[in-house]
Symmetry: C2
Subunit: 390 residues, 2 copies
């Protein structure tokens, strides 16, 4: 695996910090939002004398609560057969790839794409076939004809991220139904990474792949508490499918690695009790960050930033010809009031060589007034980050 464009920038960020320049990390999806109070309290109340393995598919009580959570979205899941708790969304994707594909098989993924998909594909020995989406129409799903051109006898699956990381694009029901028809025609799995499902704006609605009729055998959904509840470090994800044959294979991979983390599961189960008020405030906060970012970026001559419908990322086009050099320059040579930003060169999100050179990904994960601090959801009740996680 080649080093990613972001990782190549890390030494420059460290140098900038050594020079006393404050670097704001807009290059990574590590939200500064507090966890729901239910999760914070669950951590404070943990009391165990032995940390036992959980069930390989995850604690039964947590799977039951997850089934209730999805029920609120009109999705009926059997916690005994349709839900597998994983070590983050990362493991959910890896297990999904290994369970529905053989070594050498191909998976079609719209690009720009979440760069780690390449790593999971290498680990699973499957080949990513990118299909390019364009900034000019906000990174909408490429036409089905373009997909069909890529299909070979080795093609086993299509992978989408919805809402999308890195583009923030929210797929429409029409787009998902077009993918459904394609998958059924060619008997392909569709893997939908829906870890940003709760971050949608402008009154739009997230349509889960599980809400699309006719995909019972073909739909695989990846989920995680990492972004939803600001619990990236819990490493608790979910793999969901109605396809029992697929889930039984997935369970075998899950059994081989014994169990997902016990402490993270306990906290995640409590976090599921978070009420609408939490998400409403989180979404209000992200919406306001997004609006500020999109408005200010588009005021700059030669800059174009589409308005992302979900998640907390955008891909913006800049008047530059080499985003890797530009992002390095921001760290190495630029500062304003002794501050600068670290952005992600978009080249890292394209599998097709040469694309994305005039684009960057910006994660709007820092708050507007005091981007150096944790954004407090429950003012007065908390003392800020203990710093223990780093």
């Amino acid at each position: 695996m080649p080093a990613s464009p972001i990782r190549k920038l890390v030494p420059y960020a460290e140098q900038a910090k050594k020079k006393g320049i404050k670097v704001y990390h807009l290059n990574i999806g590590q939200p500064d939002i507090e966890m729901p109070k239910e999760a914070i309290e669950a951590i404070q109340n943990l009391n165990l004398n032995i940390l036992e393995y959980s069930h390989s598919a995850g604690n039964e009580s947590y799977r039951k609560k997850l089934a209730e959570y999805y029920q609120d979205y009109g999705i009926q899941l059997d916690p005994a057969y349709n839900i597998l708790v994983t070590t983050g969304g990362s493991e959910a994707i890896t297990i999904a790839l290994m369970s529905c594909m053989d070594p050498g098989d191909e998976i079609i993924v719209p690009e720009p794409l979440y760069a780690n998909y390449n790593g999971f594909a290498i680990a699973s020995d499957v080949i990513v076939k990118p299909i390019t989406s364009g900034i000019e129409n906000g990174f909408a799903l490429p036409g089905i004809v373009a997909f069909e051109k890529l299909i070979t006898p080795k093609t086993k699956a299509i992978l989408i991220c919805n809402p999308n990381n890195p583009t923030g694009y929210l797929y429409s029901k029409t787009e998902l139904e077009a993918l459904r028809d394609l998958a059924l025609k060619h008997d392909l799995f569709i893997i939908a990474d829906e870890v940003y499902r709760d971050f949608v704006y402008d009154g739009k609605e997230h349509i889960s792949l599980l809400n699309i009729a006719g995909l019972e055998k073909h739909a695989i959904v990846i989920d995680s508490v990492s972004k939803r509840f600001s619990m990236c470090g819990a490493r608790i994800g979910t793999l969901i499918s109605y396809n029992k044959e697929f889930m039984l294979i997935a369970l075998k991979f899950a059994q081989a690695r014994l169990s997902p983390p016990s402490l993270g599961q306990l906290v995640a189960e409590s976090a599921l009790r978070a009420d609408d008020a939490y998400f409403n405030e989180v979404n209000r906060e992200y919406l306001s960050r997004r609006n500020l970012m999109v408005a200010l970026l588009n005021q700059i001559d030669g800059v174009y930033c589409p308005t992302p419908g979900g998640a907390f990322y955008t891909i913006a086009r800049l008047p530059i010809d080499d985003c890797d050099k530009f992002c390095q320059w921001l760290l190495e040579s630029f500062s304003y009031h002794n501050e600068t930003v670290m952005l992600a060169p978009a080249t890292g999100f394209y599998s097709t060589k040469g694309l994305g050179k005039n684009e960057v990904r910006i994660a709007y994960v820092l708050n507007q007034t005091d981007p150096d601090s944790c954004y407090k959801m429950h003012s007065g009740s908390l003392e800020g980050l203990s710093g223990k996680t780093n």
Copy 2:
């Protein structure tokens, strides 16, 4: 992957429980020993508002403490280059296999072997070549000639578990040096799973592969806090090597999955402060369980149980011709004072078909006086298991 012999027994264990029969689980290495008080207190004192990703290689502070821990064993490690924190020993093995082998490569493993090695090998698309060790000499390392017969151009590594699960065998320095000479002769990696390193008895000493001179390029060590500190559910393991090229590849796989669990790392770091008194008491307890088990088993006509030098397992030979049926019978038809035991059929630990039919693995993980309860290390100070992990 076929269902393991243990998993096939699960429905029978459930039926026995439904009939009101108490089933003692000697089939799984889930210790009933309490964590060190440092870990218990660390869990009680957790207080975080955001659960952030850790460094992909694990928290720097934890890696530094790990380096200090290994220093006590005469092993000098650089926390920046030689140590990678993983999601349990399971992930350490998977990353190790993916980082030093290509799809289709072969790895030689003495059998009986930890059954999940087969799962990790399938996930990594490598082929396990078993080499049989025998109960008559306590499952000592097979002769080097036998190893050489198995070596092909596809052979890239040898995997040992020391002390061994499932046999409890503790490899001698002479055996490790013979493996070293073989590895250097054929340029093979040796992967040593040393997760039971702290459980050795009868005044014997565990020799780490890292203590064997000349293996700087070839030694890979797997470690974990799961058994050492009764923290199986923390999912915190370690991958160690002096081979920087190998570690850089391993780090890339680690970066793809983002980070190991944050909460588990915090607790594991505290657990490292446990003093010798903790391990002395734990070892005294296991030694006494082992002695009772070995003595009583060998009193039975036709039963032979070698004396394991480490870990908390033994493979015993019984006067039976089908251990799968026997273990099922123990659950289905046998009870004594309304109690029975669940054992692991040894067939699950052999890759060579037909072997192990008159053997079982017994984990001596339950205490002798009240095997139904948690074994308390610090009497009076604790209230027993909260049960929250299940």
